[in-house]
Symmetry: C2
Subunit: 111 residues, 2 copies
């Protein structure tokens, strides 16, 4: 599912859910994911403090995708950090230069 | 990958890509997807006219997710239609009521 910031409307991250993670999210109004690498419930922010407070959940036409519109508590959702040693706001902190003859194909939007 | 409207910032749809669809997208600056149901390249709008013109592509931290920020030509990206017989702008046209004691759990944001 997609996580979108409720105020900036920035897409913050993409994650997976299942029944357990979805039920947790709806019950606690905090985003939880299903970690496909660790195969376990992943309550976002439990370790990092970067908690996503759910404001709205949207469902797509064929009901196999969700958008979580959320408030962010903490500096960011990403596990990577910026130059100031803060978690980056969004996992999508790089832009692909696809129309320029540039050797550096990835431009950092947040360093 | 996530498609986001370049002006309204609304999340329009979620789709899959592969090398072929991605190369098409970068070359033509039009969103193409990999149809997982038909197992073929799906150039968005070829039949419907609802073309997504790519303005920006963002890449996530572990480089397995993309955001396509796009201009929409046509009424909407969804294959479903609204009450005016127009394609709905976004596939996420319903909101889940998760904090109310309401029998009607899905609220239409666009009818």
């Amino acid at each position: 599912m997609v996580v979108q910031h409720s105020e900036t409307h920035e897409v913050l991250m993409l994650g997976y859910t299942n029944r357990e993670a979805f039920d947790y999210t709806v019950h606690h109004k905090i985003a939880a994911f299903w970690s496909t690498s660790r195969e376990e419930l992943w309550v976002k922010g439990k370790t990092s403090g970067n908690v996503l407070h759910i404001k709205e959940i949207r469902v797509d036409c064929d009901q196999d995708a969700l958008v979580y519109i959320a408030d962010l508590e903490g500096s960011g959702v990403c596990h990577t950090k910026n130059a100031d040693d803060q978690f980056r706001t969004s996992c999508f902190y790089r832009m692909l230069r696809f129309s320029e003859n540039d050797d550096d194909k990835l431009k950092f939007l947040e360093k």
